[in-house]
């Protein structure tokens, strides 16, 4: 980082420039009205200063036209802000389907990150430049917030559910990563760096420290699936006491009672932690809860595994995200 007084943050994502342009518009409107009012006050101070002790003001005290004017004009300017801001916000919530996924777990007071290929890191995130990256985030304890000012992006990491964040870095370099939702004693220390790398350098980094390369996330999930004995009930041929998980991810599941649910991250998570909340049609609520038995990291591994069962031919992420873009049964 450059020493001395810096007054504007780095811009290193596709969103950064669009947010900065929006900022410019907001500043222009603000400066215009700020100056209008302050200069107006100063003008009045000189022009209408009381000149005689018994002087009173002129008797002008209403004008409907003026009132309507200064209601409508600011509101129209605000409408522009609203639509412009909403457009960026919606884009920020719609990760492209080919985005690479990184799994993030926040806990007091560190960030744990796992790449699908298996490389893990703490308080650091390595990503390739010019490639969309989607973060799937979970919290082990309280609410945290993943914030990268240079990307102009943040999103709370809420316990009990998955939140997502996506970006496409545009400039290699090292950028601040902050936790921006107050999370307890060492909140200020819960941060680190995001390293945006050239694709080749990133690939090399992914290979990792160990000689034979890390175990992929889905493979780790499969080991876990077997060691937790999930496979005894969830057999691939639908003959177990639980439903088969082949091709479940991203599909629409029929529930007891006639409702349906989209099998997304949240559903997989709930099915592991609150299995009796939603019962698949034709099955008994026999599954025990795994609340407290699996960590958030392990849950994400299991999820990656279930996801890999979804579409074994084309690789993990593509059909899942495509399916998610459709609205679920409400």
């Amino acid at each position: 980082m450059q020493p001395g007084l810096q007054l504007f943050p780095d811009s290193a994502s596709t969103f950064a420039s669009s947010v900065d342009w929006l900022f410019a518009y907001l500043m222009a409107v603000s400066i215009f009205f700020g100056l209008l009012i302050c200069l107006g006050l100063i003008y009045i101070a000189f022009r209408y200063h009381r000149r005689a002790p018994d002087e009173v003001g002129a008797d002008v005290h209403s004008s409907t036209l003026l009132e309507v004017g200064w209601m409508v004009v600011p509101f129209l300017l605000c409408l522009v802000m609203f639509f412009w801001g909403a457009e960026i916000y919606i884009a920020e919530r719609q990760p492209p389907s080919q985005a690479m996924e990184v799994y993030v777990v926040g806990k007091q007071w560190m960030w744990k990150l796992q790449h699908t290929e298996g490389r893990k890191e703490i308080n650091e995130l390595h990503v390739p430049v010019n490639r969309p990256v989607k973060l799937v985030m979970a919290s082990e304890d309280v609410i945290h917030d993943f914030y990268v000012p240079a990307f102009r992006l943040k999103e709370d990491v809420v316990p009990g559910r998955y939140t997502t964040l996506w970006f496409q870095a545009t400039k290699t370099g090292q950028y601040h990563l902050f936790c921006s939702q107050y999370c307890g004693t060492n909140h200020a220390l819960m941060g680190g760096w995001v390293y945006v790398m050239e694709p080749a350098a990133y690939e090399a980094w992914l290979g990792g420290e160990s000689a034979n390369g890390p175990v992929s996330l889905a493979a780790g999930g499969e080991q876990l699936f077997n060691s937790l004995a999930c496979h005894t009930c969830h057999q691939p041929d639908n003959k177990g006491r639980g439903p088969s998980l082949m091709g479940v991810y991203g599909s629409t599941v029929k529930l007891e009672g006639g409702q349906t649910v989209l099998a997304d991250n949240q559903y997989i998570r709930e099915s592991i932690l609150q299995p009796s909340a939603k019962i698949v049609e034709g099955y008994q609520p026999l599954m025990p809860t795994f609340q407290g038995l699996v960590t958030e990291d392990q849950l994400l591994q299991l999820m990656a595994y279930v996801k890999s069962l979804g579409a074994p031919a084309t690789g993990p992420s593509v059909p899942a995200t495509a399916a998610k873009a459709k609205p679920a049964a409400k």
Partner: protein
């Protein structure tokens, strides 16, 4: 400063003004109460939407017959309270006292039945924080949430009932002293509004907690 002696307080012009003031104050307090219970109703709604199945399952542990009887008891007490207010307007001192006593008995009856229900939940380990047990065990978390809300809502309601009984006791003592006349009966009128409001809360608690899932 002899405020308590005369009916008209010093800072009012006349009795109608004083009466309108007290009535408006009471109604504004009722609006506050709506929002107070509203927070609980919202918490209930959000969580029921999250766990419809388990909430239904948990609601089956309530005694619907007792709940229905209690609803009827409370409606009866509202009737007697309404009659008490009516008698205070007409200046029927003795009938006023009798209706107040009836209302109190019905109110106590409601609380008694409620206490019996709570005892039953306690014996069945359905009180959150006190060795809560639920089967299937996988549903214990949300079921405990249901019972937390159940106790929070019925407990808050019962607290209002107890406060109401305190107010009724005060009214009864004052009515023995023949304080309420056709000219001055605002306290009875306002206590009536409060009592009916507590009734209305129960009118919503009853279906939401007991009824809507019993067919499942």
């Amino acid at each position: 400063m002899s405020e308590s002696e005369s009916i008209l307080r010093g800072h009012f012009r006349d009795l109608p003004q004083q009466r309108a003031t007290a009535t408006l104050g009471m109604w504004i307090f009722m609006a506050t109460e709506i929002m107070f219970f509203g927070g609980l109703f919202l918490t209930y709604t959000v969580n029921r939407a999250a766990y419809p199945g388990i909430f239904a399952e948990a609601s089956h542990h309530l005694n619907v017959v007792l709940g229905t009887v209690n609803t009827a008891v409370l409606i009866c007490s509202s009737m007697t309270m309404a009659m008490a207010v009516y008698c205070s307007h007409k200046g029927r001192q003795k009938a006023l006292s009798i209706y107040l006593i009836l209302t109190m008995i019905l109110g106590l009856g409601f609380l008694g039945i409620k206490a019996a229900e709570w005892t039953e939940h306690f014996q069945h380990h359905l009180v959150p924080g006190f060795n809560f047990q639920f089967s299937p065990a996988a549903a214990a978390g949300p079921a405990q949430l249901y019972f937390s809300l159940y106790f929070a809502m019925t407990g808050m309601h019962a607290l209002h009932m107890i406060i109401g009984l305190g107010i009724l006791t005060f009214l009864l003592i004052e009515s023995f002293r023949a304080r309420y006349t056709p000219e001055y009966n605002t306290p009875v009128e306002l206590s009536g509004i409060y009592w009916h409001f507590v009734d209305i809360i129960w009118i919503y608690l009853f279906p939401l907690l007991y009824l809507i899932d019993i067919h499942k």
